[in-house]
């Protein structure tokens, strides 16, 4: 598998170079998508399937969709020729920084203290997947703040109010495609959410897949937008953060520790929070794409 890994690692670099230095923006975004999928594959090989799933769904899929949406709307900067000194300086600086990172990663002996601690506490966390245990139990506070960051991004976009993507109906193949793929995304999201307890998966991956399905449906032009749809989505986006905060406070009252779930019931708490988060993340990501407020 050594050869396979080396080829994947080199292909990531090649795709990144194509994405960063392509003249055409659509080509750049396409190369970025390819890079995201190759990176997801290499993270799978690095033994991090949870992160690989999130990268494929969010990092490649949704970010690619966002970039593609903006590719025509953000005007190109006038291509002024940079002085050679700036090219040289940039090349030297980026080589020096990445070289320093490489060197540090190679020589510093990391004392792995976390795996032992995680393994020791895993039985009482309520879930068997260590990554879910870290995200929703040991370091649940970080995840709560992460949802708050996502919500803050939504607030920024609500204030800035970008134009909505214009939707042109797609060809005759769209309906058969949507009929197969959309039910599958809902099924897959539910599966990933439940599976997150004991195998790779979880709220973020499930939410991203739901959002992807909804974006595909919206871009197909097959459905008429509902008038109160955005308000409902915004409500759903707040729901996740609200439920998480309520759970944190309730746990504080019950056990005296913020987000310290009552012993024995941790699994139910985590599942309840994750279910609310899945819907909320899907709504937030969808709103990040279509824009949270109607523009007048």
């Amino acid at each position: 598998m050594m050869l396979f890994d080396s080829v994947i690692a080199a292909a990531c670099l090649g795709a990144a170079a194509m994405a960063l230095f392509a003249r055409d923006r659509i080509a750049a975004v396409a190369a970025f998508l390819v890079m995201g999928l190759l990176v997801a594959l290499s993270w799978l090989r690095l033994g991090a399937p949870d992160v690989a799933l999130a990268e494929a769904a969010i990092g490649a899929g949704l970010t690619g969709a966002l970039l593609l949406r903006s590719a025509r709307r953000v005007p190109k900067a006038s291509a002024k020729a940079l002085p050679p000194a700036q090219w040289l300086g940039a090349a030297l600086l980026s080589l020096a920084v990445s070289g320093a990172i490489l060197w540090t990663a190679l020589i510093v002996e990391t004392a792995a203290i976390y795996p032992a601690l995680v393994n020791e506490a895993l039985p009482e966390s309520g879930v068997e997947n260590p990554v879910t245990a870290v995200l929703l139990n040991f370091r649940a506070w970080d995840t709560l703040l992460e949802i708050a960051v996502l919500f803050a991004a939504l607030a920024v976009i609500a204030v800035v109010k970008p134009v909505h993507p214009r939707i042109a109906p797609l060809g005759p193949m769209m309906l058969p495609f949507a009929r197969v793929v959309l039910p599958l995304t809902i099924f897959l999201a539910g599966h990933l959410l439940w599976q997150g307890g004991h195998a790779p998966g979880g709220a973020f991956q499930a939410g991203a897949i739901l959002a992807g399905g909804a974006i595909a449906l919206g871009l197909s032009g097959m459905v008429r937008p509902i008038r109160w749809g955005r308000a409902a989505l915004a409500g759903l986006a707040i729901l996740g953060l609200g439920a998480f905060v309520v759970a944190a406070l309730a746990a504080e009252l019950l056990t005296g520790a913020l987000l310290g779930y009552p012993a024995g019931a941790a699994k139910a708490w985590i599942l309840a929070i994750e279910s609310a988060l899945t819907l909320s993340i899907a709504a937030t990501l969808l709103l990040l794409f279509i824009g949270p407020a109607e523009r007048h």
Binding site: A9, F32, L62, R73, A105, V134
Partner: protein, 91 residues
């Protein structure tokens, strides 16, 4: 071991390419794309360092997952701002 080294080189290379692009491009969309590539490169280095005798450490994995979700929020906000900048220039 060789595999880990290949991925480490790849991560450092992604960081290098992204930093170079960020320093030489004035194009807002390409800068947002460069920021994404930079974050992916850093995540790759982090994940390679998380490798140990008993599999990949769960805590850096959780960091990286959080990073990916935060990054999509940042990307969406930056793109909205970039579109707004373009409109303000037109007016």
């Amino acid at each position: 071991m060789i595999s880990d080294f290949a991925f480490l080189i790849s991560g450092a290379g992604l960081i290098c390419l992204a930093l170079f692009r960020l320093a030489t491009s004035a194009d807002l969309l390409m800068r947002v794309l460069g920021l994404n590539v930079l974050a992916i490169g850093i995540a790759m280095v982090l994940l390679v360092s998380a490798r140990g005798a008993e599999g990949t450490d769960a805590v850096p994995q959780a960091f990286t997952l959080t990073g990916i979700v935060v990054l999509v929020g940042v990307t969406a906000a930056l793109l909205a701002l970039a579109e707004r900048v373009a409109e303000a220039r037109d007016e």
